[in-house]
């Protein structure tokens, strides 16, 4: 098998890469450009709302550079989890940008789009058939949860992307895809060892985060017969055994086992070897195909509408009394708006705003930043309740009060801000499928 080089321009499409790094990387003769554009990491909003994680401006700018480079070299460009969550509207939005690029740059190529939306009825059938397994959500997927789900996608493996390559695609815009698979698809399609290609995908999908100094920048990986070699695009960076080994722990629970659609990879026998100053060779991944092929579902449901108020508290007497004040205004707001149901959360920065009940320290702070957050069934109610609480707090009287003219320093008028719909994860479960491609239709367009 000939060596196959994958160029990954950045960790998330739209987050940038160096022009010099791309030019140098392209000069090394990659066989494909592959990049990930999303994850659950930014939260459930992008899945639920269909809004893009990164602006059209940034996506178009970077896709233009990549498609031009790909067309110039005659190699495919593959983008996975487009739009941030890979939902249908996000695939279409990105595809539209690709069409604009083709027109504006006067380029002709075959575009493949791959959808990853799962019909709710399909998932319900799987629930009824007992073909859903909880992944980490801690509770089973139910028909009720699916009825509440507004967007449901599944992570594709490399197979649908390989199907698009079989179909002659020059640019692949894929919905939700396992990050590793986006990078691994082309090498596997060309005959590389899937274990090595997928392990390389896991490291490469974050771009030059596995290099030092780390950055959102170009990283290259070359799959050989029995190993793969990593190298950053920019000569200002290097791959070291330490940077690569450290990165192989990042954002995952089990460093020795990597599960993906239809497979499990054992990394316990891996070795990292420094090659020259800037390259690292990786060996030893072992792949086992699972008896049944499962894909990971990701669903989001509407949790309500949110309004917030932001305020500072400087008075030490207020800060000392704060817990009791918050408990009281919350209780009064819930009573005032009953029977409507409200979720009221106080983020007390300077207290436990970041870690909540996991915060072990209790020292009193000089200054507190308070975010009052209300989620309700509609925006008007959320706004009304948020203002009721911020107003009640502003003029709250408590024992020992020294300043009777107001407890909150608001940086803004209006004090209460409407954040719109709020989404929560409703599905994070595995679903059994008959074939790796059945849920992920490929469409072609000649541009």
């Amino acid at each position: 098998m000939a060596a196959i080089t994958v160029l990954t321009p950045t960790g998330t499409l739209g987050y940038g890469f160096g022009d010099e790094a791309l030019a140098r990387g392209m000069a090394l003769g990659p066989a494909v450009i592959a990049v990930d554009a999303g994850s659950t990491d930014p939260g459930p909003h992008y899945l639920g709302s269909g809004k893009p994680l990164v602006s059209d401006v940034s996506i178009k700018r970077e896709l233009t550079a990549l498609i031009r480079a790909g067309r110039h070299a005659g190699i495919p460009v593959i983008v996975g989890s487009v739009g941030g969550a890979g939902s249908g509207v996000q695939v279409e939005r990105t595809a539209q940008l690709v069409r604009e690029i083709a027109r504006e740059q006067n380029l002709n190529f075959k575009l493949a789009t791959i959808r990853s939306d799962i019909p709710i009825e399909r998932a319900k059938r799987a629930v009824a058939a007992g073909e859903i397994v909880d992944f980490e959500a801690g509770s089973p997927l139910t028909e009720k949860l699916l009825d509440e789900t507004v967007t449901l996608v599944a992570q594709m493996g490399h197979e649908p992307i390989c199907a698009a390559l079989d179909g002659g695609a020059d640019v692949v815009i894929a919905g939700r895809a396992c990050d590793d698979s986006v990078i691994a698809a082309f090498p596997i399609w060309r005959g590389a060892d899937p274990a090595l290609a997928i392990h390389m995908g896991k490291i490469l999908e974050c771009g030059a985060f596995s290099a030092e100094p780390f950055a959102m920048d170009v990283m290259l990986g070359t799959v050989h017969e029995d190993s793969f070699l990593l190298e950053p695009g920019s000569t200002a960076r290097r791959a070291s055994v330490k940077s690569v080994a450290a990165h192989s722990l990042y954002e995952r629970e089990n460093p020795f086992k990597q599960s993906g659609p239809g497979h499990e990879i054992d990394l316990s026998g891996c070795s990292f070897e420094q090659v020259g100053e800037r390259q690292v060779r990786v060996r030893g991944a072992r792949l086992t195909e699972t008896a049944d092929y499962y894909v990971k579902l990701e669903g989001a449901r509407l949790a309500g509408y949110r309004s917030i108020a932001i305020a500072g508290i400087r008075c030490p007497t207020t800060i000392r009394a704060l817990d009791a004040i918050l408990d009281d205004v919350r209780r009064k707001a819930l009573d005032y708006f009953a029977p409507a149901s409200l979720s009221v959360v106080f983020h007390v920065y300077g207290g436990n705003g970041v870690m909540k009940e996991l915060e072990p320290e209790t020292a009193l702070q000089r200054e507190i930043g308070l975010v009052i957050e209300v989620t309700a069934a509609d925006q008007e109610l959320a706004h009304a309740a948020c203002h009721q609480i911020s107003g009640a707090m502003l003029h709250y009287h408590y024992p020992g009060i020294i300043n009777t003219s107001g407890n909150l320093a608001f940086p803004y008028s209006p004090s209460d801000l409407d954040l719109g719909p709020v989404y929560e994860f409703s599905a994070y479960h595995l679903m059994k499928v008959d074939t790796p491609t059945e849920l992920f239709p490929v469409r072609y367009e000649d541009l």
């Binding site: 722990l249 460093p255 009940e357 996991l358």
Partner: protein, 107 residues
């Protein structure tokens, strides 16, 4: 014997989401000697991490010592799902402080 906080002995102490329902902690050491010295004290364990965050050991979902990376990795279950009401850290990347302040017996 004296103690030193983990942050003085480790090169990197970090936290991050591992999916919407977990926060994973990585402790990376400069070299094998430092990694083995800290590991040998047993000061970093599922029990000590649970204590540092005021949670039960059952909320610690895994604990790994990774020789090839001179690293220790601990993962906990999030008290609430990422992005759900009350979550204050969407990326889970600011949860490392109680861990880095754990005292390690060391001269």
């Amino acid at each position: 014997m004296n103690t030193r906080p983990l942050k003085d002995l480790a090169d990197i102490v970090r936290s991050k989401n591992a999916g919407p329902y977990r926060i994973t902690f990585d402790i990376l050491f400069k070299d094998k000697a430092r990694y083995e010295a800290v590991r040998a004290t047993g000061a970093i364990s599922a029990e000590s991490v649970a204590k540092a965050y005021g949670i039960g050991v059952s909320q610690v979902s895994s604990f790994f010592e990774i020789d090839m990376a001179n690293a220790i990795k601990i993962t906990i279950k999030r008290p609430r799902a990422q992005g759900s009401s009350g979550d204050g850290d969407m990326y889970g990347c600011q949860h490392h402080v109680p861990l880095m302040l754990i005292d390690v017996p060391m001269e």
